[in-house]
């Protein structure tokens, strides 16, 4: 009975409980800290089993002693509310702290303190235990540009800078030019983008040397594939979504068939189809570049997903919008373009963003047809006989790369969602 009372704080002498509890919690965390950072164990005289569980027991007792509602001390109230509201949560809190403490030293050592980034050959890494970032440094250009000739890398950089600056035109458009923005982004921009990539990256004219698409690769290829995927699958998906909601049976059933077909098959088989089956369907002398085939396959595939997302937005609009537009004498296209689609698209920003994210994350799959973007280049670098054994570094590098890109995209979509949110 007395034992239970010791662990149960009361308001009258809460200060005492607080000091003892804080001391116990500090001891428990300090014990784990010493064990993991300095390999010291001040309780080693205890039996193994008790010694192993000691920090947990101390911590639990400490947290139990400071758990009092409305204790009057602000910090303690916040702690109790957020991490210490019952014994189960207290235990989980301690476990998370302990795991973090235990995992920090080995991973920090591997990634930073024992790692090496200097030098420019594998020998620089031969004597260290940690990560060999030299590998990433040496292969960095390959991860970014693939097998594209080194002396022409400026062409890729320039092309991307031009593309991005053309994309920002919308921000500077003023007055009456603003009305043409939709036209610009929907039709003019894709054409400009294609021409820039064709003439600048492919080359072959204006004194620029022709570079085969086989040599393209790395992160720039990821961007090229997802960029074309994004700008072309959106209009196609919009048309399919309207087709699926159409009153004309032939158009509706064709759209349904198209959407359900592409949504039912994995992308990898679609890519297989584009590389081994599609050439059979073309005239014998026709040749379509592999990269173009792949991009078209990805566009056709993702358009089905975009269509379903947009359909969700179309269905969410109340009937009154359609009726109001019709009663104003608008025709089908006028109604869709000026009334329905602007509202529907606003509703489905998160869904569209998710589809685009999926597209970016799907681009590594193009390795099945022999094109290598970042992940493909990693596989190539990993099997290079000069650089065997650094797979881990490569994968961590690529994970961080993709994570940053995808996380930034999802944040941007949340920002857009808030920006275009209108209360209805």
């Amino acid at each position: 009975m007395i034992n239970i009372n010791i662990l149960k704080p009361n308001r009258d002498n809460f200060k005492v409980y607080l000091y003892i509890g804080a001391l116990l919690i500090f001891l428990s965390i300090f014990d784990v800290f010493l064990r993991s950072f300095f390999n010291l164990n001040f309780a080693s005289f205890l039996p193994d089993f008790v010694n192993f569980l000691l920090p947990l027991l101390l911590g639990l007792a400490g947290l139990q002693m400071i758990r009092l509602e409305y204790s009057g001390v602000k910090t303690v109230d916040i702690i109790n509310k957020s991490v210490n509201n019952n014994i189960f949560n207290a235990g989980l809190t301690l476990l998370i702290i302990f795991i973090t403490l235990l995992a920090l030293p080995p991973s920090l050592n591997w990634m930073i303190f024992d790692a090496n980034i200097s030098g420019d050959s594998k020998e620089a890494c031969s004597s260290i235990e940690g990560a060999c970032w030299t590998y990433i440094k040496i292969w960095f250009r390959r991860f970014m540009y693939g097998m594209y000739p080194n002396e022409f890398h400026w062409r890729i950089n320039l092309a991307f800078i031009i593309l991005i600056s053309f994309a920002f035109v919308g921000f500077f458009a003023k007055g009456k030019y603003k009305n043409y923005l939709t036209f610009y982004y929907a039709i003019a921009y894709p054409i400009i983008a294609f021409l820039i990539i064709y003439f600048l990256i492919s080359g072959g004219s204006f004194g620029l040397e022709w570079v085969e698409t086989n040599a393209w690769g790395g992160l720039s290829l990821t961007f090229i594939v997802s960029f074309f995927g994004l700008i072309f699958c959106f209009p196609l998906g919009m048309i399919l979504a309207l087709g699926r909601r159409s009153e004309l049976p032939v158009i509706r059933y064709i759209s349904i068939g198209y959407i359900e077909f592409w949504r039912g098959v994995p992308l990898i088989t679609v890519l297989f189809m584009s590389s081994v089956m599609f050439p059979m369907f073309l005239p014998a002398d026709a040749f379509v570049d592999k990269l173009v085939r792949v991009i078209v396959a990805i566009i056709l595939f993702e358009a089905a997903y975009v269509a379903e997302v947009i359909r969700g937005g179309l269905q969410a609009l109340p009937r009154g919008q359609y009726d109001a537009a019709k009663s104003l004498g608008m025709g089908y296209w006028k109604m869709q373009i000026f009334v329905i689609l602007p509202q529907a698209l606003k509703l489905v920003i998160p869904g569209i963003a998710n589809t685009f994210l999926a597209l970016v994350k799907d681009t590594p799959l193009i390795f099945v047809v022999g094109l290598s973007e970042v992940v493909g280049m990693l596989q190539m670098a990993k099997t290079n006989p000069k650089w065997l054994g650094y797979a881990m570094e490569g994968y961590i590098f690529a994970s961080i790369l993709f994570w940053v890109i995808c996380y930034a995209m999802s944040r941007y979509s949340q920002h857009l969602e808030l920006k275009y949110k209108t209360d209805r």
């Binding site: 509310k81 957020s82 991490v83 509201n85 949560n89 989980l92 809190t93 998370i96 702290i97 009153e247 004309l248 049976p249 032939v250 158009i251 064709i254 359900e260 077909f261 949504r263 039912g264 098959v265 994995p266 992308l267 990898i268 088989t269 297989f272 189809m273 081994v276 089956m277 050439p279 059979m280 369907f281 073309l282 005239p283 014998a284 994210l357 970016v360 994350k361 799907d362 681009t363 590594p364 799959l365 390795f367 099945v368 992940v375 990693l378 596989q379 990993k382 797979a391 881990m392 994968y395 690529a398 994970s399 993709f402 994570w403 995808c406 996380y407 999802s410």
Partner: protein, 383 residues
């Protein structure tokens, strides 16, 4: 009249467009195939395949037919999908609930788990587990037993197997238990509706499920023998475990990556489902006098499941389709065995790719039809 043309003309034009495209493709395909001297047909399926598959659930070697190879691939795909679905559900539900925890640390750990694993491409994760993480495991001869008598080695995961005598009797006993449970449930429901009495259905069902099969084991009608994996020397430096069940590293990497990746999406579905139930429901149930367990079972879960299940099934479908990435690490699934090796050998691109696509299509369409039916069944009927 004018209106009619407006409606019919676009339809005819679209149809014409589609027919033209398909016609163009078909004519080209026929020309190409006759040029190469291939004739279209599925007769090759019964030919001898003459290639081996590393890992197979059914009896298979090179002397079997291509149709059998197809079946091997399909079964391997189904195995990965089922394992992935089980694990992603377990992890996903835990993470989804953790996302709503009152504990700040748990909530945020779960958030970062979800944010991390869903923003890294699945292929990269598969490669990471296969080429980096699982390659760091010890060789069979240096392996310490893990969880009793299982061995996690670079060559795969070895677990004890069960050698069965009269397995069918054991399975029949489980079937009998299930039938009995269904009967008891209907009886309990009737009892509840007519007399307001409650039976401890859950405990009865659980004990039946345990008692029946163990009875067959005790009486000796069916026998199970545990077979432990044993280290065996193949040559001077090469060791392997024999006996029990061995799971190849490709399977492990694939299941790990698929379940971790998909669990993030399942977690979001679960979170959305639980958040979608208004607080009033819980309070109303409590004020009627239901116990917390009953509230969860009778009020919260039925409503939350209605929101959770459809998107989660979608994720299961995605997982099944994503399992085709197995081809990247040479796990013999449908795509690798059939659309890879078999296609290479026969050169029948159109037939094989179409069969593969049709298989996935049937799989997804049948599941989504089932889901549509289920959705209609459980939808709240508003008047």
């Amino acid at each position: 009249m004018d209106n009619k043309i407006k409606k019919i003309l676009p339809q005819i034009l679209t149809l014409l467009f589609i027919v033209l495209i398909f016609g163009f493709f078909t004519i080209n395909a026929q020309l190409n195939m006759s040029n190469r001297g291939i004739d279209f047909g599925y007769g090759f399926l019964s030919q001898e395949s003459s290639f081996d598959v590393q890992f197979s659930l059914i009896d298979y070697d090179g002397s079997h037919s291509y149709a059998r190879a197809y079946l091997v691939g399909l079964l391997n795909t189904i195995l990965v999908s089922v394992l992935g679905i089980i694990f992603c559900t377990i992890i996903g539900v835990i993470m989804g609930i953790a996302r709503l925890s009152p504990n700040y640390l748990i909530r945020n750990s779960a958030l970062w788990y979800v944010e991390f694993f869903r923003n890294v491409p699945l292929l990269l994760q598969i490669f990471f587990w296969y080429y980096a993480a699982l390659r760091a495991l010890p060789l069979p001869e240096n392996t310490e037993p893990f969880l009793g008598a299982t061995y996690l080695t670079i060559k795969g995961y070895y677990i004890p197997g069960l050698l069965w005598n009269n397995l069918n009797i054991f399975l029949y006993s489980i079937l009998a238990a299930i039938i009995l449970i269904v009967l008891i449930r209907t009886y309990a429901k009737k009892l509840q509706e007519e007399k307001g009495k409650q039976l401890p259905v859950f405990i009865i069902s659980l004990s039946l499920l345990i008692v029946f099969p163990s009875l067959t084991l005790i009486t000796g009608l069916s026998q199970a023998e545990v077979e432990l994996p044993v280290l065996k020397q193949l040559s001077k430096t090469s060791f392997i475990y024999e006996g029990g069940i061995s799971l190849p590293p490709e399977l492990l990497a694939l299941v790990l990556a698929l379940s971790l990746y998909t669990s993030t999406f399942v977690a979001e579905c679960v979170r959305a489902g639980i958040q979608g139930i208004s607080k009033g429901q819980k309070e109303a149930a409590a004020s009627v006098g239901l116990t917390p367990n009953q509230i969860l079972k009778l009020v919260i879960m039925p409503q939350a499941l209605r929101i959770i299940i459809p998107p989660t099934t979608n994720q299961y479908l995605n997982l099944t389709k994503n399992s085709s990435l197995a081809a990247a690490i040479a796990y013999p699934d449908l795509v690798l065995v059939f659309a890879g090796t078999a296609l290479m050998q026969t050169g029948r691109a159109i037939e094989i790719v179409s069969i593969t696509m049709l298989t996935y299509l049937t799989l997804s369409l049948s599941i989504s039809l089932l889901m549509n039916w289920y959705n209609k069944k459980i939808a709240i009927k508003e008047k």
